[in-house]
């Protein structure tokens, strides 16, 4: 680190931060060279897209990765606001806390928020209980996303996916080409050399862009801590009414949750490692109620982050198939 820069953040060495229950660090720490490099590479990617594509959008899923993505966008274009809208695909099965956080974030950062729901799916009453996670995800997430991208005429969409999440994501380019049908052909990806991203497309085609490709789960949390980035409170441990189902801890979030015979919600101290639709996202038992506690807890994890995401487990190559059809 250059001396001057370190000097601009007095007493910032080390990460002896005091964090409150809301997870907001009181003081910003200096970034490690590792995080600084990841951050600046991501900023470069944001700027390339805005310079080369006509009408980008940021796909905002409200989770920690989206929070980091937004923070990087704020950095990339400062003092301008990010010159693109933020799109949320609302399945209507998100946690209330997520929707409140989404609206508050858009207000705080002065972003243009576009919310899209697959109205046809709503009319047909598609839900995770009657239709199974696979069909439900296809209709309420993948189809909804494709509708929203087509409606907005977006030619580029930023997503928060990381290569360390899942093995088909480990294969994906940073600029990932989509056909006019919004499909991904993993066997015919464009070569991607250095940071010379090729954003050239024809009408109807688009690029999915993943600025966090080279980040790991730990990088994300350490960056959230270092940069004092707000995240949804559900990431912090709190008592919740829980039922255990197929080894997963499911929060009984509202009256729409259907209990099976013999299931009885009990209060447990839990938090989420990954956030999705509430009936499809397993919580973990935890007492970690601050960012340092979350990071400390991560050091002992035995399972991967997407372990709690039921939608990944429907079948082998589950994620790849969803991605080929247009899922992020």
């Amino acid at each position: 680190m250059p001396d001057e820069r370190a000097a601009s953040w007095p007493e910032s060495q080390g990460q002896d931060l005091q964090s409150g229950a809301d997870g907001r660090a009181r003081r910003r720490a200096a970034l490690s060279p590792h995080l600084k490099r990841l951050q600046d590479e991501s900023i470069f990617i944001f700027r390339e897209v805005v310079a080369e594509l006509r009408n980008p959008v940021l796909l905002y899923s409200i989770g920690k990765d989206s929070s980091v993505l937004l923070h990087l966008a704020m950095r990339a274009f400062y003092p301008a606001r990010p010159p693109f809208p933020v799109l949320h695909i609302d399945t209507t099965w998100k946690f209330r806390e997520m929707i409140a956080f989404r609206d508050e974030t858009a207000r705080r950062l002065g972003l243009e928020l576009v919310v899209h729901t697959n109205e046809d799916g709503i009319r047909r009453g598609v839900n995770p209980f009657d239709h199974g996670s696979s069909y439900y995800t296809q209709v309420m997430k993948t189809e909804a996303l494709k509708q929203a991208l087509a409606k907005g005429g977006y030619d580029a969409a930023f997503g928060g996916a990381r290569r360390d999440e899942e093995r088909s994501r480990a294969k994906e380019r940073i600029f990932s080409f989509r056909s006019a049908a919004q499909e991904w052909d993993p066997k015919k990806q464009r070569p991607e050399l250095w940071s010379l991203y090729n954003g050239r497309i024809r009408d109807g085609e688009s690029i999915r862009v993943f600025p966090l490709s080279n980040w790991t789960e730990l990088d994300v949390w350490q960056y959230v801590l270092a940069e004092d980035i707000p995240v949804v409170p559900l990431y912090f441990a709190a008592p919740q009414p829980i039922v255990e189902r197929d080894g997963q801890l499911i929060v009984v979030h509202d009256e729409r949750m259907r209990l099976k015979p013999g299931e009885r919600p009990e209060m447990r101290m839990v938090r989420f490692r990954s956030l999705g639709c509430y009936p499809l996202t397993g919580a973990i038992e935890s007492r970690a109620d601050s960012l340092p506690a979350i990071i400390a807890e991560m050091l002992g994890f035995q399972t991967s982050e997407r372990m709690g995401r039921l939608i990944d487990r429907d079948e082998a190559s589950s994620m790849e198939r969803k991605k080929r059809e247009g899922y992020f």
Partner: protein, 638 residues
């Protein structure tokens, strides 16, 4: 969780102790790739590294065990290749198609490893993985030694500027850890690698399958005294940023949120910059002064290589995306002509003369490969003559851009010396290129000065030299009119020469066929001959279909104004087909000829020809007179 941990221990897959993440804040990052031929054990090696550094989670291991039973090729054992082959097609076929990125860490470093495919057919994906790596782990199978793919990958690794290589001689268990065989492979490789410019090259004997010398020293190689692979990766010194170089920053995006702010967003490519530094805006070369370095955290006192910042200049000036801001006292060179290495990545071959888009830094400009100097046999490093570059070929070319760019040779700066070639039609990334040096034609290749020049010869002949370039469809009447024009000029005592399409193909161009590359070369040679004849003082009459505007523009280029006259013999295709003087249209209709101009190959009519001749309204003789009248008006003949 305790139960599943116990289950993992029982299954013999080890227990995650969590030391993976316990990193000092300053732990650096190393990005490397694994490469080498198919089945040399790349994926197994990475699987082993991930496993031993406890970067694999229980659910991932469980999924891996499940897949190993389904697709595995190593019997009872976990098939680590399945961990890396993230695509369904890869697992089904048991091959790696595309590069896969994996992450692991030790107490000393974090690692991003790119596992790249071994098949020659997927070399472009291997190059994708190599382009962002600082070090290459090159595997060879101890039984097979150095093979074609070992050499191909080494060459690409070298070409992309990777200076640190680890030669992993794997599957030592299958040759009973034979020290002599190891040294033999090491020596063969070191001989081959001379001249590839590697700063460090370490050979390690391993068995990725059993873990020998991967993360812990093997008892089965007492004769090997070097470090294990992991120990070496943790400690090898890598310079990721060029040091001691002057300030350079390609402008990515102009930030104008309101009238009072105009900043230039970009990532510093080399050197450092501070407020009040004098800079130049390239390629124009205008001088400017940096006033502020703006970030979300406030203004910085300095920005260095790798920093993504926004610079504000002291005065408003015209700066746009693609310009390079550079230290005023040591600005980057600017050129539009380069010698460069290319790795061709498209199924459609490279053809010299065709127009592509070139993206270099943050600038995208039109350009073409003016010459393929040679193709490189990556086995022997031999230079081979080539007219085209095909998928996965490596070649040295001359590159010409539509406008100049600021650059550095790739060896000096990766950011400013690399480019990609984009196909204008399909938008695919057709090649990766590295700039070797600028071709300054004026200084490198001087025109031999001769005392008797064109005007002296023209004066002696009593005529002004010119090139009459007849273009039009086959059967349009080019040769007929050209012949009449020459006869009339000859009768007037003028010195002329006719270059005819069919005639030159019997001699000068008899080595050329009718592929697109050959057509381009055919016109290029004729144009050069026409220029020499004009220089000799002759009135040259060239008669060629020459269907492409770009080719005719090339024939015109470099000549003084008024020397080159484009004569468009404008005859509708229906009329040409009716006349069919050589019976060619009949053959086309019968399916005996394809790629025929005007029928199933394009003819790009001239937009602004000097002379346009309509053959349906006038006789050939009247049209020849029309040409002569035009030459008189232009003062070419008296």
């Amino acid at each position: 969780m305790a139960d599943s941990a116990a289950a993992a221990v029982e299954a013999g897959v080890g227990q995650r102790t969590g030391n993976v993440f316990r990193l000092p804040a300053e732990a650096g990052m190393l990005r490397f790739l694994t490469c080498g031929s198919v089945d040399d054990g790349k994926s197994t090696l990475i699987g082993r590294l991930l496993f031993e550094t406890r970067a694999l989670f229980e659910d991932q291991l469980a999924a891996l065990e499940h897949d190993s039973r389904k697709y595995g090729t190593v019997g009872e054992h976990i098939d680590f290749a399945l961990l890396m082959d993230g695509l369904e097609a890869e697992r089904e076929q048991g091959i790696t198609i595309d590069v896969s990125y994996r992450f692991f860490a030790t107490d000393r470093r974090r690692f991003i490893v790119a596992d790249t495919p071994g098949h020659q057919q997927y070399t472009r994906n291997m190059a994708t993985g190599a382009s962002t790596a600082d070090l290459a782990v090159l595997l060879v199978d101890a039984r097979k030694g150095v093979v074609n793919q070992t050499r191909r990958h080494s060459f690409i690794v070298s070409l992309l500027g990777i200076r640190h290589v680890v030669l992993v001689v794997n599957k030592m268990d299958l040759i009973a850890f034979d020290a002599e065989r190891f040294r033999e492979i090491q020596e063969t490789y070191e001989n081959f690698a001379t001249g590839l410019g590697f700063e460090s090259l370490l050979a390690i004997p391993t068995s990725a399958r059993y873990g020998d010398n991967v993360t812990s020293a093997s008892e089965r190689t007492p004769w090997y005294e070097g470090p294990t692979l992991l120990a070496y990766l943790e400690t090898v010194r890598i310079e990721t940023e060029p040091v001691g170089q002057p300030f350079r920053m390609p402008v990515q995006w102009v930030n104008r949120p309101h009238l009072d702010f105009r900043g230039y967003a970009g990532t510093v490519a080399s050197g450092r910059v501070r407020p009040d530094d004098a800079i130049r805006v390239l390629p124009a070369g205008k001088a400017a002064v940096v006033s502020r370095i703006v970030t979300l955290d406030g203004e910085l006192a300095e920005a260095r290589a790798g920093d993504a910042v926004t610079l504000v200049l002291a005065e408003e000036m015209d700066v746009s995306r693609g310009d390079v801001l550079a230290a005023a006292g040591d600005a980057a060179p600017v050129s539009d002509q380069f010698a460069a290495h290319l790795v061709w990545m498209s199924e459609t071959p490279l053809i010299a003369g065709r127009s592509y888009l070139i993206k270099a830094g943050t600038k995208t400009v039109g350009g073409s490969i003016t010459a393929i100097k040679y193709r490189i046999n990556v086995d022997t490093h031999e230079h081979l003559a080539a007219k085209e570059l095909h998928l996965n070929d490596v070649g040295v070319v001359n590159l010409s851009l539509a406008s100049p760019i600021a650059f550095e040779p790739y060896a000096k700066n990766r950011n400013l010396g690399s480019f990609i070639v984009i196909d204008r039609l399909t938008n695919e990334t057709a090649a990766a290129g590295t700039i070797d040096f600028a071709l300054r034609r004026g200084t490198n290749l001087t025109w031999q000065h001769l005392d008797i020049d064109r005007s002296a010869r023209a004066a002696l002949n009593g005529q002004k030299p010119a090139i009459l370039w007849f273009t039009g469809l086959s059967g349009a009447g080019k040769s007929t009119i050209a012949n009449l024009v020459e006869r009339k000029l000859f009768a007037m005592g003028r010195h002329t020469y006719v270059l005819d399409g069919d005639n030159v193909r019997h001699g000068l161009n008899r080595d050329l066929g009718f592929t697109e590359a050959d057509r381009v070369e055919n016109i290029r040679r004729v144009a050069e001959v026409a220029k020499l004849f004009a220089d000799a003082g002759l009135i040259v009459i060239a008669s060629f279909i020459s269907p492409y505007r770009a080719d005719r523009a090339m024939a015109r280029s470099g000549l003084e104004e008024g020397v080159f006259l484009e004569v468009f013999v404008d005859t509708p295709i229906e009329e040409c087909q009716r006349r069919d003087p050589k019976g060619l249209y009949a053959k086309v209709a019968a399916g005996k000829i394809s790629n025929f101009t005007g029928v199933d190959a394009p003819y790009e009519a001239p937009e602004n020809p000097e002379i346009r001749l309509s053959t349906t309204a006038n006789s050939a003789d009247a049209l020849a007179d029309e040409v002569l009248a035009d030459l008189r008006r232009r003062g070419i003949v008296g």
